[in-house]
Amino acid sequence: MNLFSKFIVRAVFRDPVRSVVTIAGLTLGVAVVVAIRLANVSSVQGFETALEVVAGKTSLEIVGAGVGVPETQLAELGWLRQYGRVSPVIDRTAQIETLDGSVSLLRVLGVDVLRDQPFREYRLLRFSEGDQGSSPQELLAALLAPTSVVLTERFASRHGVKLESPVRLRIGDTAHPMVVRGLLLDEGPARVIDGHLAVLDIATAQWLFDRLGWLDRVEVQLFVPDGIDIAEQEIAARLPEGLRIQRPAQRGRQVERMLAAFHFNLTALSYIALVVGLFLVYNTVAVSVISRRSEVGVLRSLGARRSLILGFFLGEAAVMAVLGAVLGTPAGWLLAQGTVRLTSTTVNTLYVTSSATVPQLGFEDWLLSGLIAVPLSLIAAAIPAAEAARVTPLAAVRDADHQVVYRDFPRKPAAAASLFFGLGAWMSTLEAVDGLPLFGLGAALAVVCGAAALVPILLEFVRRFGRETLTSWCGVEGLLAHANLSAAVARLAVSVAALVISLAMLAAIAIMIGSFRETVTYWVGQTLQADLFVATADRAPVGSTATISTAVERDIRTHPAVVAVDGFRGFDLPYGPEGDLIILGAGDFGVLLDYGGLAFKVPADGAAAMRAAVGRDAVVVSESFALKHEVGVGEVVSLDTPKGPRQFCVVAIYYDYSSDRGLVVMDRATFARHFGRQRPTGLTLYLDPDANAEEVRTELLAAIGPDRRIFIRTNATLRAEVLRIFDSTFAITYALEAIAIIVAILGVAATLLTLVLERRRELAILRLVGAGREQIRRMVVVEAAMLGLLSQGTGLVVGLVLSLILIYVINVQSFGWTIQFHLPLGFLAQSTILITVTAALAGLYPARVAAQIVGERVR
């Protein structure tokens, strides 16, 4: 141990910059992994907590197909009382305006208080000062008036709301004035979702949410909780067509499944920064081995065993890994705050509305960081450490210093590279595993490893053929830079590989996103033909259920410039054996065909097929639905309807990039036949060609009046909005990638610094024969820039290959989208310049250190 502290710990301090950079790199790597994990957990957990809160002690729940449970059926379900207590529930979200002017999103529960009492722990209510606890009767009384709402104490104190305060609930296009009649104490259910809960009487809720005659579900609390399996089976058998029984947790699982691909890809991405960090560990240990070869030789000649040497260097890696994990875990927690903000927009826009908060760090988070960082670091360090253990005592006497090894063509890396590339090619042809692109990512990983193996070959190539070019570009500094790099090929290979990998990932992601964006832009141009779009919320998940009121629809339809209106209604529907949540949509096929512009994948004449579908039990499906559920044109899909499962024929597949969950769309008439008349959630307006959309919009808003909350967007703003959402979805991707590149550039700078420090003597000779400070500085900067340029050049090529895998394998397997390949040349050119400049800048510090070297003793 004493020897360890002398030999390794002191060395860590002797080269503090490299140690700090490595630990910083590891810290960032661990932090990113922790952050993404916490963010993923929190977005699912945000939903699950909310679920738990409202599920309470419910053991089973009865749900209808898509639109809910018709209230009339409740009467037929009297027999349910044999099994347990029964409570009908309306479960929605709404925005609340408080007196302090703020608007917040609330979970709104509409319950029959007397029946619901045993289900949820809101016994503890306070109606007036000093009054502790209350009976259900009191709660009922509080809720009886149709303007009554009960909020939580936590929410109320945050927004200055008191008993009898007026508030407004925004539901759909209408803001309803309400009065706060009670406050839930800050415990139990109220606490878990941070107080964002409101309770209404069920009748009020049905009225406000346009759910008259419908229930969102019927909850059952069993008398004999242990008999749940039998009860579930028996009830399932007795339920009428169109109703299903399930356990509350199933909804959470559905959301989890829905987010799985999104989360999986984020997680995969987050590991890039860690991999780069591990390269730094490898690099640090390798450099530490190389620079202490003769010391190791001395130790060996003095009788140190191989295992001791191995232990020393592994110990060095372990120390750094532990530090990285210890620092990275809280850093990851901090990072997660930002990540949640970045991803919650995506999750809320594209998947579910949930208020995500980052969970506190637990012991297992620290443990997990350690379990990720330490073994991986040890693996990374194993190769150079094993090399150290092979050092013979001879190394002590032989001057290994300043020996330039001119090697043969690097055969081993070449073999490894071809092996990896072959593996990648093979894996890219394999199918997804359970909807996750495991082999696709495997292929990407193989290409990345292949690229890493390629680096020594490239460096060797540059060593052999680059001197003339570099000398003619940068003069004597170029020649010296080339000479220096040539001598350090073995050492540089790893840090350059790390940089190449992160740059390749950046290029790949840029190409993928660029292609995707281009595709979406094209698709939006094709599809968004309408002049105005009417919705009730400024942004909402695709299957949002807030409806447009009749009054508003009437105002709109009567405007003289409005030629045609397509009312769209969409909601979530479980589909298939796993109950995947798809989006079922209903639109006016006639209007869509006359005015709209769906882009069809199959058949070629999709419009004709769609026209033929009107009046039949036929649907058009989105590409991602077709891919995920393996459905083709002419095949039949079975959808749950209130009257039980029904068969629908797929007549066409169209391109859609609005959701990866998959859309099934039917004509309004068909929809009404199966699901009953439902108010639309959005309207698409086609105007007289002479009308000015902007003016019509203003007139419509004026006609509807300021009391209605309605959003009308013009074609141009909606297109801009789509791209804005698109960009915010990928903001996190770029953020993660930027971190990986920072880590990698730090790695290159640290390596250069090490090389400079090792070359002190040579630098002194250079100064002696007349090299000025400026020349030395330029030489090091040229080295750095050259490494940057080389890495970026390689990164671009490898990135191109990776982007093909991302676009044609991973994306298709996880989201089911066709993306047209498109090279974002501008971005790639910019990033090339940026990377080269950044690398050169990163060389400034080592350059300064190099230029300071003068008084070295030269003998």
């Binding site: 300043h402 020996q403 330039v404 001119y406 000398t471 003069g475 004597v476 020649l479 010296l480 000479a483 220096n484 040539s486 001598a487 040579e762 000779i765 250079l766 100064r767 002696l768 024969v769 007349g770 090299a771 000025g772 400070r773 400026e774 020349q775 003068v854 008084g855 030269v858 003998r859």
Partner: protein
């Protein structure tokens, strides 16, 4: 060559002192050495190990700054130059040869030889020709594209000499140039030094080698950082230095 040139003073030091380190660790390596070297003159510096020969040479070559005293090279006081100007003086007026040959391992021999002229920004065609000429003069024409690790010690030192002279300096500073060579190679190096400078370049050479010192026009004998009085051009061998001087 010409009489005027011969008479010109190339190097002049007065009362040169150098103290390394501070306080308890302070080492007085030089305690006042004054020397004048004229153009074309060959001055050998001898003395026991640790007497300050290398220190003296470093100061004369502008590699380090004295604690006290002055060094004038070509009439310019090195103390008054900033780093850049000092670099220029080294690059244009002085050549260096050391015991360990100090070639850059990453450059070929011809590149190593060309280095001073390359650094001066001379066009490639010219420096290349000059370096090849220099290599020819030291008999290395067949080794131009070899790396230092691929040639022998004697060849390395000859390359170092070519490098030291490629930019036609007025002063050559050589610190034990034969210290790492066998006697045969040592003699060859001496011959080269004498023929290549042929009276135009002043040489300041520190050595333990009696033969080398005896070839000099003048000998500066040092001990404990000071000069010992000695008869011109004659090497008087003090008995206590016998061991060091035998080689």
């Amino acid at each position: 060559m010409s009489v005027e040139r011969k008479m010109k003073t190339v190097l002049q030091t007065s009362n040169l002192r150098k103290i390394y380190g501070q306080d308890a660790n302070a080492v007085a390596a030089l305690r006042g050495v004054s020397l004048t070297v004229d153009a074309g003159e060959f001055v050998a510096v001898v003395g026991p190990s640790g007497c300050g020969k290398s220190t003296f040479l470093h100061l004369c070559g502008g590699m380090d700054r004295p604690t006290e005293g002055r060094v004038m090279v070509g009439g310019v006081d090195l103390n008054e130059l900033d780093d850049e100007a000092l670099t220029r003086v080294r690059r244009e007026q002085i050549g260096f040869v050391f015991q360990s040959f100090n070639l850059l391992p990453t450059l070929t021999l011809v590149e190593n030889i060309a280095l001073p002229v390359m650094l001066a920004g001379i066009p490639r065609a010219i420096y290349r020709a000059r370096a090849e000429e220099g290599a020819r003069q030291v008999g290395l024409s067949h080794r131009l594209e070899h790396y230092p690790s691929q040639v022998s010690g004697g060849e390395l030192q000859r390359a170092a000499i070519a490098r030291a002279l490629v930019h036609q300096p007025v002063l050559l500073i050589a610190d034990e140039p034969t210290g790492n060579l066998d006697s045969e190679n040592g003699e060859r190096v001496l011959r080269l030094l004498k023929t290549l400078t042929s009276g135009t370049v002043a040489i300041l050479l520190a050595t333990h080698d009696k033969a080398l010192a005896s070839a000099a026009d003048r000998v500066l004998r040092m001990r404990d950082g000071t000069e010992l009085p000695s008869p011109e051009s004659v090497l008087v061998e003090p008995p206590q230095l016998g061991l060091e001087l035998r080689e």
